[in-house]
């Protein structure tokens, strides 16, 4: 049986299983070129194109490790003391004071604007309580021209980039000074000058977009990184999976920054995922990943700084999962006492707050004291109130702006609709609050 067939090249397994007659038949069918291919070490290693791995002859499922997950990198303890001096970024006083002022000014603005929604002055608001460290630590580690794609709870990034209070307010009030022309709900900020892409409400849509922008930056040799912020809830969206996979396969200089704050509105993380958070997903995509203490502004800073350096130098994505806690409600439309205890919230507010921890650090260095604290609180409140009062007084943009920018040029049909609205308002204008709007 076997002797009439020439010794076939081919895997041992094939020889054993198929037997010679079939193999002879195969050989006749195979084109000459394929017959001459040799696979010398086939016996030892798998050759599948899809994975590079050894064989194993023991049946064993990999157990996901959620008891002892990826460790949380931190620089300061909860009292603001540096734990390992070699990790201290040794930032100059002015810079650290800027961190502190940005976080506290944001906090002050949040309090006033949250109240203003409660008083019916603006329609909606989202606070950043507890997450100020994630914004400022990461923003400080970037270049000013690095492009930012956010979700909606990253106002501190804009604050760090000196976005004026007037413009924050203008967007929340939707008044004539709003760069967005009053078209979106409050907190949907955007600023071309500060390289902060306008926020949109759908979650996670920014993730693959950020990857595309990073690809373009790579092609342009721009030495720019793109940073993309999202919450642990948004990370469940398909767009997140798409973004991670594209960033890795297309080798994009991007930092994925996940703010894991424990809740997606009322949904706790135990109902959002079953694996070891978001950081553990990174390696699944081939992405360098780290988990950091998001309430430690220096840990956030160090991780982002290093990620930025390597992302640009090596054209690969980095995933930073910043663990933190959402101290405030999801938004002014939410009352979180419906799904979590006041004690839990108080713990984070009192025992592990990014602002307190940084203040302790500053005070222990002699860079801040109670008197400066008092003066700054007064000053920042005054600044916010002034901007607030000014924003209130301004009119809203003209109704004709309903139709522009849908396309770059206004198509005929939209112009007709715009004219129809103008005629309608001429006849029935008394039924509309036109006094509040520019002509």
């Amino acid at each position: 049986m076997g002797s009439s067939c020439p010794r076939p090249p081919g895997p041992k397994a094939l020889r054993l299983r198929l037997g010679c007659p079939l193999l002879c038949l195969l050989q006749k069918q195979l084109p000459r070129r394929q017959e001459q291919q040799h696979f010398p070490s086939l016996d030892d290693k798998p050759q599948f194109p899809g994975a590079s791995a050894e064989f194993i002859d023991k049946l064993e499922f990999i157990q996901p490790n959620v008891i002892s997950g990826i460790p949380v990198y931190r620089v300061m303890d909860r009292q603001g003391q540096i734990i390992n001096p070699s990790e201290d970024p040794h930032l100059p006083q002015e810079k650290v004071l800027k961190f502190y002022r940005s976080m506290t000014l944001l906090n002050t603005m949040d309090r006033i604007l949250y109240e203003s929604q409660r008083q019916g002055r603006i329609s909606f608001y989202m606070t950043n309580y507890g997450e100020e460290g994630t914004h400022v630590g990461s923003a400080a580690a970037l270049d000013n021209t690095d492009l930012v794609f956010g979700q909606y709870r990253e106002a501190g990034v804009l604050m760090y980039r000196d976005y004026p209070l007037e413009l924050f307010m203008a967007q929340c009030y939707g008044n004539v000074s709003d760069l967005g022309k009053g078209r979106q709900m409050p907190v949907h900020y955007g600023c071309r000058e500060r390289h902060f892409v306008t926020i949109s409400s759908p979650l996670a849509t920014q993730i693959p977009q950020a990857v595309g922008a990073a690809y373009a930056a790579k092609r342009a040799n721009a030495n720019r990184v793109v940073i993309c912020y999202f919450g642990e809830g948004a990370a469940s969206e398909g767009d997140a999976h798409a973004g991670f996979n594209f960033a890795a396969t297309l080798e994009c200089p991007i930092i994925f920054f996940c703010r894991n704050n424990g809740y997606a509105i009322s949904t706790p993380t135990s109902e959002q995922y079953r694996g070891d958070g978001i950081a553990a997903r990174g390696p699944g995509y081939g992405i360098m990943s780290i988990r950091v203490d998001g309430n430690d502004v220096f840990a956030v800073y160090n991780a982002t700084k290093e990620a930025r350096r390597r992302a640009v130098a090596e054209n690969q994505p980095f995933l930073i999962e910043a663990m933190t806690y959402r101290i405030g409600h999801h938004s002014t439309s939410d009352d979180s006492s419906a799904y979590r205890s006041v004690d839990e919230v108080n713990y984070w507010d009192k025992q592990d707050h990014p602002i307190s921890r940084l203040r302790h650090y500053l005070q222990s260095r002699g860079w801040w004291d109670d008197e400066q604290e008092k003066a700054w609180r007064k000053q920042s409140r005054k600044k916010v109130m002034e901007a607030f009062e000014q924003a209130e007084r301004k009119p809203k943009p003209s109704p004709s702006l309903l139709f522009s920018d849908v396309y770059q040029e206004m198509p005929a049909q939209l112009r007709k609709q715009q004219e129809a609205l103008a005629r309608h308002l001429q006849t029935y204008g008394e039924h509309y609050p036109l006094d509040h709007f520019e002509k």
């Binding site: 949907h188 690809y215 973004g243």
Partner: protein, 371 residues
């Protein structure tokens, strides 16, 4: 005025060809012949696969754009992409399988010519492809995304409708993704069934902020695609897949533009306006010929070309002249784009009548439209 919308199946069915690729020219007498064509020498009727039949009608060779070359539709697309990558150094093409040339050969040769950073495969993920493309466009670079079949565009619907279409408006023109173009094979091919035949233009027509374009021929395709790529708004370009090889024409080698949002009256007539786009334009051209021959009816044939924003004026002007409108598309009837055309035209005529106070200049039959 009666407006009538129909699917391709509802129109006069032309004589079926044998297998795909064997087109027989229709003559009036042929209409009455049976659908089955006995072929074998033994006289036994050999059952051939029946496909809907139409004949691609090439346009006359264009003279005003320089040297032309015989190209089919996919070659015309390749030519447009080649021109784009040549003159715009930021332009990139990406999607599933575009690197080796694409499942319809639209990107053959481009990776070798322009490099792997400009013509590249992405993972199999339409929402990623479009999202990624939006991101490229946000930086100002030109992004040409391919969706392998229009049937698979739906995972990207959120990115298209909620993001691409609204990018400029919602940001107050601080940001935009105008340099994004999405291409997708579209429409019936005979054997495509549910998931390789769809015409989803009606879903996107409801979305202000994007443009939707469907060419009928290689010459139109290249010019329209170039216009889409250069247009400062995100565009979706649907390519009738059945025409990729079947449609052959003389097409200019150099770049040129066919304007967007302008319908083309490809045949003038006086009794009824026929409107279609893509493959169906060729069907209604034949219908027009048959109507003339059999019924003595003079048809004005319009290729809409751009679905959004569509050329209301050209269609209305034609209907004012003829008094009758028939719109035909492959997509399902209910909520199909013919409804939009039909309702807009009827509303616009009503305004006309109200404004002038005169009798309408064309006949107004009493039957309600079938749409």
């Amino acid at each position: 005025m009666a407006a009538f919308a129909a699917t391709a199946g509802g129109l006069l069915r032309l004589r079926a060809a044998g297998s795909e690729g064997q087109w027989r020219r229709l003559r009036g007498a042929g209409l009455l012949r049976g659908l089955l064509q006995p072929e074998s020498a033994t006289g036994v009727a050999a059952q051939r696969r029946r496909v809907a039949h139409f004949t691609f009608q090439p346009d006359p060779e264009p003279r005003e754009y320089g040297q032309t070359q015989k190209m089919n539709l996919f070659q015309a697309i390749t030519s447009a992409l080649d021109n784009s990558l040549a003159k715009d150094p930021t332009a990139v093409i990406f999607g599933e399988d575009v690197a080796f040339g694409g499942v319809f050969r639209c990107t053959v040769g481009l990776r070798d010519k322009y490099g792997k950073d400009r013509v590249f495969n992405t993972p199999l993920c339409e929402q990623g492809i479009v999202g990624f493309g939006i991101g490229i466009a946000v930086t100002g670079a030109t992004a040409i995304a391919e969706i392998q079949f229009a049937d698979y565009i739906f995972p990207a619907f959120d990115q298209i409708v909620n993001e691409a279409a609204k990018y400029r408006y919602r940001s107050g023109d601080l940001f935009n993704c105008g340099s994004l173009t999405i291409r997708a094979p579209w429409g019936c091919v005979g054997h495509g069934a549910l998931y390789h035949s769809q015409s989803p233009e009606a879903f996107f027509a409801h979305c202000p902020g994007i443009k939707v374009v469907v060419p009928r021929s290689p010459f139109q395709a290249k010019g329209l695609l170039l216009s889409c790529i250069e247009d400062k708004n995100p565009c979706i370009f649907f390519e009738p897949k059945i025409l990729y090889r079947a449609a052959v024409e003389q097409v200019p080698v150099e770049p040129y533009n066919v304007p967007l949002s302008q319908a083309e009256v490809i045949q003038e007539g006086s009794d009824v306006t026929l409107v279609a786009w893509g493959t169906q334009v060729h069907v209604i051209r034949e219908v027009a010929a048959m109507a003339q021959e059999k019924l003595g009816v003079s048809c004005e044939v319009i290729d809409l070309r751009t679905i959004l924003p569509w050329d209301v004026d050209t269609v209305c002007k034609s209907v004012i002249k003829t008094g009758r409108l028939l719109i035909s598309h492959e997509a399902p009837l209910t909520g199909g784009f013919a409804s939009e055309i039909s309702s807009t035209v009827q509303r616009s005529r009503a305004i006309q009548r109200a404004v002038t106070g005169r009798h309408p200049v064309c006949r107004v039959p009493s039957t309600l439209p079938d749409a």
